[in-house]
Amino acid sequence: MEYHSARTAEEAIELLTETGMDTRALAGGTDLLAQIRSGRVRPQRVVDLKKIPEFHSIEESESGFQIGASVSGAEIGEHPSLRAHWPGLVEAAELIGSTQIQGRASLGGNVCNASPAADTVPALIAASAICSVIGPGGRREVPVEEIVTGPGQTSLKLGEIVAHFRLSRRLKNSGDAYLRLIPRSEMDIAVVGAGVALTLDEDDLCVACRVGLGAVAPTALLVSEASNALLGRAVNDASLADLEEAARAAARPIDDKRGTRDYRIRVAGVLARRAATLAMKRARGLDK
């Protein structure tokens, strides 16, 4: 196996595009190196992206945040401004694995590994994250919900990589939250994950809402029926009950050792409701 540490995006794209080579992009490596060891993948070439400045930095500007695809969970958790603007996304990133995994695991890797249960994907969907994808054809912007197309499958073409994620600043009276259920308190894979971001107006009515659900379908879902249940309404028992029902209706999970289909459907509704309630409290400034 060849190892290359790319210094520029152009170099990385060239190395990833060469035909006839089974090539993998390397960010934190917490999924890829375990897959290589198990023999699930046998790349001939690995291209490390971590030394490319765009990939390893968090930039904040008037328009929002640019999070490099290889920035680690620990770095995301230690960024005070990101915590203040997108606490739900930060929680999702910090839920992944142990302290050791947090030192390496990245947003780009979590998205492009394309696990249906990836924790950051529902939170990124809720936060309306845009992926900046670079490749042989140049740069294009892709909503995060369009990257993953199935378990282990993405819409990225040969030689394309996610370079960074773009998030707006937190709007006035807005909040986000991510909650997941696992069979124990730490170090496990989501049975269900739910991310919600919403905005309230001066009359406390919900004027914007995005709901992302993880681990209940082949990919994380953007559930517009669930956000529609809140739009134009007060966030109260009646509207939250409609959101809960819409989340359940959107879930089409499998049975596995972590939970049955019926259990996951039920939990999807409960978590979506609790995440929406927490996001509302944050929007009102009642919770950090």
Partner: protein
């Protein structure tokens, strides 16, 4: 083969590695630093914990070639001039080990925690060390040893 230059346990170090091998392989096989243990090899058990450019990581999930120019701290650099680090002393005093395979990883992870926070709560210690598995002790004595070390480092009697 690739020629790597890194700082390992405070010393400028050079080694040769296969491009597909891990930092754990390089530490144990090329540098004979066998204090760092291999448990699962998949990042689940924490036995191979090292500090890589200031971050706690599993050496089995880092390629050896990624160490070019990096600073790596292993359990073998914890004691200084034959004097045990307070964590090592408290692990002995509090009987925080039995078979010992997990101990290097716990020492490295706990040292990294105490360098960031010298007054952690028990809950913070347990969460920080959740990626280090021990199948002998039941963890209580390990947690106690870390908390007692923290108290000593704060200048309180333990």
């Amino acid at each position: 083969m690739r020629h790597i230059r890194a700082t390992v346990d405070g010393e400028a170090t050079e080694f040769l590695c296969d491009e597909g091998s891990t930092l754990l392989d390089a530490l144990r096989d090329s540098l004979q630093k066998t204090g760092t243990k291999e448990g699962c090899g998949t990042g689940d058990c924490g036995a191979c914990s090292v500090i890589f450019d200031g971050r706690l990581v599993c050496a089995c999930l880092v390629l050896a070639a990624e160490a070019e120019g990096a600073t790596v701290e292993t359990v073998e650099g914890i004691s200084k001039e034959g004097v045990l680090h307070p964590l090592q002393r408290h692990f002995l005093e509090d009987a925080a080990l039995q078979c010992g395979i997990c101990t290097p990883g716990f020492l490295v992870a706990a040292k990294n925690l105490l360098e960031r926070n010298v007054d952690p709560s028990e809950e913070e210690v347990r969460f920080w060390l959740a990626g280090n598995l021990c199948r002998c002790t039941g963890y209580d004595k390990i947690i106690r040893a870390v908390l007692n070390t923290a108290a000593e480092l704060r200048g309180e009697s333990s």
